[in-house]
Symmetry: C2
Subunit: 123 residues, 2 copies
Amino acid sequence: MTESHPVPVTLFVCTTCRHPEDGPEAPRAGARLAAALHAPEGVELREVECLGNCRRGPSVAMVREGGWSYVFGGLDAADGSAVVEGALLLGASADGLMPWRGRPEVLKRGLIARIPPVPGIAA
Amino acid sequence: MTESHPVPVTLFVCTTCRHPEDGPEAPRAGARLAAALHAPEGVELREVECLGNCRRGPSVAMVREGGWSYVFGGLDAADGSAVVEGALLLGASADGLMPWRGRPEVLKRGLIARIPPVPGIAA
């Protein structure tokens, strides 16, 4: 029944990350990604200053209750809809893992790390 | 008072990760790291099969209530004491961040990603 009652997902977007092609004065790709994101119901967007994935930014992270946490990198300012799609997949997942099947390509090749859930720990 | 009442830390060690110098038949560096780790009071060791950081393993992740979650990579089977030291630093942190000062060198250069806490979400 999890499919019909998705779990809320918190979506962190690093606004400090630069795209390799960003000029030094240009708005940063991470900030442009955050600005372009339209979080639907069930996805709470939070901007953060650093997710520690500076080598392979732009970066986002996704966290949900009872599920794995994910960090993705190598994104582009235009990847907002793929990121939201991934967050919704994670929220709808019955086993707390973001399914590989149906996952946007940019979230397949851009996986940086994932962390298992810790039952009982309120992060 | 947080310093004197550390928060328990869950330490995940990926046992699948190979060190770049591991032979194909050798026990994997991640498994050797896990086997050599002696988790003190306040640190719960959990072996996992994949933290998604396959490009830069061996990998560990650390999670605590009310704190940031961390993933480290580029480790070695001999880095167990540094990993435990980092977990204790995270557990003792008043602000939920692992302090840079005093952090073992291997956890400075090996930072893969970090995720902010989400109050109220039991991961």
